[in-house]
Symmetry: C2
Subunit: 252 residues, 2 copies
């Protein structure tokens, strides 16, 4: 029997996870998925993810892929994996994909959301999923700054450490703020992201909102493309990987 | 100096709390507020709450009241209490109220929300705040059943144990379902609630949604007013006390 290749949409509460990729110092999404898959299939199973998320970052739409020799259908695989996974990680929409499917390289577009709690006092029910930012924020200025992000350009200014020789040019399709009551969030969609890109942009946009950084200066720093000039890095717990898109036909 | 009386709006993540009222077997909202107030004012401070919430139930709009001999203004009291409170409890909108203010007896209307996650698989980011209900739900039938709740009537059928001689007649002002994606919730506003009332109603409404209980039978059980006939009791963690209203003029 040939191995089948599966893709799954993955949700996780990143609070107690040290990130997406396997590493020695704590539980990771990849590790939890590999442990669950090994228990289910009775064999070591390598799991690949669409995007790296830092320690503490959440996801409702990460994509994982793995191969297994199994008679089980995709719906059964999904239910069985969830029975093995801890309560801060879950899969859904498990489906069969072509043998060479690579969730990272085949991804066409990724959507991140960063959420801010802008209430008068901290909100216990949002403490794990929103950054508490006090004081008045100028959302009109924050949106004007976000408008400068769309299009194909060099995002080195909002990148953490990059491997030498790697390009920092990305295409941002959408960058917009929304609000409901004292909760505010911004969504950014791009072909791919640089390390800490959304968190650094968020840190700078909040500075814009507080009047500590002019929109024009934000745009100047962005265009100047000096690594790490845009920041500070906002906390991980406000960030969530919402969705990854692929070419139509095999994976949504 | 006379004692000032304060009211505060209280938010809490009920996950690790054993309810609102002081009791010997774990942390409660009242106890945490009294500890924080004692630390702030340097004196034992009795805290009263608008509504009792069961172990595991959340709030974004509980109301607490307490008296203290202090020179501090209400905004300072709020900030200082939050510095003393644990991260799953917080106050906001602290304001001075008349000396006899009783947050429970003076309350005119209370609003609870019960949230259900109706996705294909469990959702880790909602596991503390929404009840995971699988399968198709008939929201039209659930709304028709909820419609039977409005008005002044005897709610004994959806009450837990009641002290002898207490009336179970309440007035429900609003009862309605809403949905956004795979998240569904219903809001109920009433002058006051009976023990476990919202959780029992939710359990029965979900049975209606699954087709296990006809709307007509739900209404019949409700009108029959036999204690505890409506249920089962839905889990505590989907429930949140959203707001308490008072007569206008001193407290909102």
């Amino acid at each position: 029997m040939d191995a089948k290749r599966f893709a799954a949409t993955v949700s996780y509460d990143g609070t107690a996870l040290v990130g997406s990729q396997v590493q020695p110092n704590g539980r990771t999404v990849q590790e939890e998925l590999e442990i669950a898959a090994a228990a289910l299939f009775g064999q070591l199973t390598r799991v690949e993810l669409a995007g790296r998320t830092d320690s503490g970052v959440h996801a409702t739409g990460q994509v994982a892929a793995f191969s297994a020799v199994t008679r089980l259908g995709s719906a059964t695989v999904g239910r069985a994996l969830n029975a093995h996974l801890p309560d801060d990680v879950a899969v859904r929409d498990v489906r069969e994909v072509p043998p060479g499917f690579d969730p990272r390289r085949w991804a066409r577009r990724r959507w991140y959301r960063y959420t801010v709690w802008n209430g008068e006092a901290r909100e216990p029910l949002l403490r794990r999923t929103a950054w508490f930012v006090e004081g008045n924020l100028d959302f009109e200025a924050m949106q004007r700054a976000a408008d400068a992000l769309t299009g194909r350009q060099d995002f080195l200014a909002c990148s953490g450490k990059l491997e030498p020789g790697r390009t920092s040019v990305r295409t941002v399709f959408r960058a917009g703020w929304d609000r409901a009551g004292d909760t505010a969030w911004w969504d950014i969609e791009a072909d791919a992201f640089l390390p800490q890109m959304v968190r650094r942009l968020t840190g700078a946009l909040i500075r814009v909102g507080r009047g500590a950084l002019e929109v024009e200066e934000f745009v100047r720093l962005l265009r100047q493309a000096e690594q790490g000039a845009i920041g500070p890095t906002a906390p991980a717990h406000g960030l969530c990987l919402q969705r990854v898109w692929y070419d139509e036909g095999y994976v949504v």
